[in-house]
Symmetry: C2
Subunit: 339 residues, 2 copies
C-alpha cells in the first residue's frame, strides 16, 4: 500500500443507501439536505427520518469534488517558536473554530514546512490542492507580502489586523488606540497625572497603535506621558528613581506589565491604586494570578472571529465588497492593580 494511505473505511452509508431506504432517488436525498424547499414536506420528513436513522452524512470529499465548495477555512499559524507562542493564539483559535462551526465550516491549520519553505509557498500549496475556500491571516504587518500574494491569487481571504489601503475590505481589527485611550482615561480618573508607557517593537502595527493611542489621549487630557523605548525592569526602575516619577504605568501586554510589578517592588514601592498603578493588555490568565490582580484589556475574541468568518464567507458568496474594514472595541477590565 502506498505511503500512509489507509484503507478506506468501509460501511459508511452513502446517499444511495438512504435513497433506497426512503424509497426516493439520490437527488431527492441530496435536495433534502441542500435545498429542502424543493422537496414536498411529506417526502422531506420521510427522507430526514431515514437520514437520522442511518446516521448518514455526505462524504465531504465527494461533495467538494463535485460542488467546488470545500467548507473549510485555512488558518496560517504564525511562525513563532513553539516554546514562545503568541499569548493570544490558543484563545483566538478556539474562538475561530467556534465561529467557523457556526457557519458549518471547519478550520484547517497550515504553516510553512517541508515542501513549502515560506508562508507564500505554503499558501500556494494549500490553494493548489484546493483544500480551502478561503484563508484567515493573523499578525498582519504593514506591507505584508502575504496579503498582496493572496490578493493576487484571487483566493477569498481576511486578515486579523489592518491591511494596506489596497485591500481595505479584508480586515478585522480591534481598536488598539481607543483601548489604550480608555486605559489612560481610567488612570486619569483615578488621579494619575504622570503616566509611563511600555510597548514592544514599533514594527508591530498593533503595538504602534497602542502607543499612539496612549500618547494622543495623554496629550488631550493634559497629562504628562513618558514612554520606555526598550522595556525592561531596569528601565522602569530608573524612571521610578528619577525626579517627577510616574504614578502609573500602562503596558502593551500583560507580560510587560509584569516587568513593572518587578520594578515597583524592587524599589520598595507598592503596586495598586495607592502606590503605582499598572495596567496590561490581553487579559491573559496571568492577570488573575498576580497580586494585586492586573487591570487589563480584554479582546472580544468571539466578535473578532465572528466578523472574520462572516467577511470571508461573504466573499465566497460574491457579495458586494464592503468598502472598509471592521474595527471592534476592546473592553477594559479593571482589577486591583489600578483601582
Amino acid at each position: 500500500m502506498p505511503e500512509g494511505a489507509h484503507r478506506p473505511r468501509r460501511g459508511a452509508t452513502t446517499i444511495e443507501e438512504v435513497a433506497r431506504a426512503a424509497g426516493v432517488s439520490r437527488q431527492t436525498v441530496s435536495n433534502a439536505l441542500n435545498a429542502p424547499h424543493r422537496v414536498r414536506p411529506e417526502t422531506l420528513e420521510r427522507v430526514t427520518a431515514t437520514i437520522r436513522e442511518l446516521g448518514y452524512q455526505p462524504d465531504q470529499s465527494a461533495r467538494s469534488l463535485r460542488s467546488g465548495a470545500r467548507r473549510t477555512i485555512g488558518y496560517l499559524t504564525p511562525v513563532d517558536d513553539p516554546n514562545d507562542p503568541n499569548p493570544l493564539m490558543a484563545g483566538f483559535l478556539e474562538a475561530l473554530v467556534d465561529a467557523a462551526g457556526e457557519q458549518g465550516r471547519r478550520v484547517l491549520l497550515f504553516r510553512p514546512g517541508r515542501g513549502a519553505p515560506d508562508a507564500l509557498a505554503a499558501i500556494d500549496e494549500l490553494v493548489a490542492a484546493r483544500q480551502v475556500d478561503g484563508l484567515v491571516l493573523a499578525d498582519v504587518l504593514h506591507q505584508d507580502a502575504r496579503i498582496d500574494h493572496v490578493a493576487r491569487l484571487g483566493v477569498p481571504f481576511v486578515a486579523f489586523g489592518r491591511t494596506g489601503p489596497a485591500q481595505p475590505q479584508h480586515w478585522v481589527d480591534i481598536a488598539n488606540d481607543a483601548a489604550m485611550a480608555a486605559v489612560v482615561r481610567h488612570l486619569a480618573a483615578r488621579g494619575h497625572r504622570r503616566i509611563g508607557y511600555l510597548g514592544a517593537s514599533e514594527d508591530l502595527p498593533w503595538m504602534a497603535a497602542r502607543r499612539a493611542g496612549f500618547l494622543a489621549e495623554a496629550r488631550r487630557l493634559g497629562l504628562s506621558a513618558v514612554t520606555v523605548a526598550h522595556p525592561s525592569v531596569t528601565a522602569v526602575r530608573a524612571l521610578l528613581r528619577g525626579p517627577d516619577r510616574p504614578t502609573a504605568f500602562a503596558a502593551g501586554s500583560d507580560l510587560l506589565a509584569l516587568d513593572v510589578y518587578e520594578a515597583v517592588r524592587a524599589e520598595g514601592l507598592e503596586v495598586g491604586p495607592r502606590g503605582i498603578a499598572v495596567t496590561g493588555f490581553h487579559n491573559t490568565p496571568l492577570c488573575r494570578h498576580l497580586h494585586p490582580p492586573l487591570t487589563s484589556v480584554r479582546l472580544p475574541l468571539r466578535a473578532i472571529t465572528g466578523a472574520l468568518v462572516g467577511r470571508l464567507l461573504d466573499q465566497g458568496r460574491g457579495e458586494a465588497a464592503p468598502t472598509a474594514g471592521v474595527e471592534l472595541a476592546a473592553e477594559l477590565v479593571v482589577r486591583g492593580s489600578s483601582g
Copy 2:
C-alpha cells in the same frame, strides 16, 4: 447559490492537462507522483518537469474520494473557555502542525458546537463526513469517554496523555513523575531538606502524576515534604510562617509558581537559591519575565507531536499494534529561582 457555496475556482490545472503536455497518459502522471519507481527514469523526469512547470498539484478532494486517504488529521481542541486557554495549546498545536506536515498531513481543528453538542457527537460528525484519517486527543482523563468512543468507532487515534489499560497502544505522554523527581533531586542537590508542593486538581492525571513523582522522590531521598491541598498565596504564606518552614517549593505549573513568588515576597523573604527556591512546570514565556527567572520543566513538544503523528499513521498503515505507549522525558531548565 446555496448557502455559502463559492464558485469553484476555475483554471486549476488537472492531471489530464499535465499528461497531455508531457505526452503521456493520466495514470503515468499519477504514478510519477505516487509510485515513481514504476515509471521509467527518463519519463519520470519529463513528467516531473511538466508538473513543476504547470504548477500542478492534485486536487485533494478527488484524490481522497478515490483513494480513501484524507491526508488530514483531526485535532479535538479542548473545551476551555477561550479567555482562559490551556497554556500549552498554542505551542503544542504549532508543533503538531509541523509534525503532521513532515508526513505530508494537515491538521483539521474541531470542537463541539452547533449540531454536535458534546465531544462524542463532534467526533461522530467528523468521522461520518470522512474528513480525517485519524484523531489526536489531548487532555485525556482516566476513564475518558472519548477514548472508548473512538476505539469503538474503529477510527485510528492517538492520545496525548495515558489512556486506560484497554488501549495501551494509543498514547504518548511525558514522564510527569520523573520530571518532578528530577526537580526534587535538583532542589535536594542545592541543599533543600524540606520542600513544599503545589498542584491543581488531582482529577487531572498529569497533575496527580507530578504530585506522586514529587512525593516518591522526596521519600526516597529522605526529605521532608509538604503538599498544599488548595493552592493559593494565603496557603503558601501560612506555610512560610509556620514552624519548620520549607526552603523550596515545587509547583505543578508556572502560574502556580507565581503564587509562591507572591507569598514569599509578602512574607518579606526572597525568591532564589539563597532564599526560598521555586520551580514551575511548562516553561512558558512567563518564566523569563519573572525576577529571578523561574526554573521550570520544558516539554519536548516536537518529540511529543512527532511520536503522536507517527503512531497515528502506523495505525492507518495497518502496522502491528505496539504493546505500550510512549513515555518521553521532559527536561529541567534551571534558572535563577532555584540555582
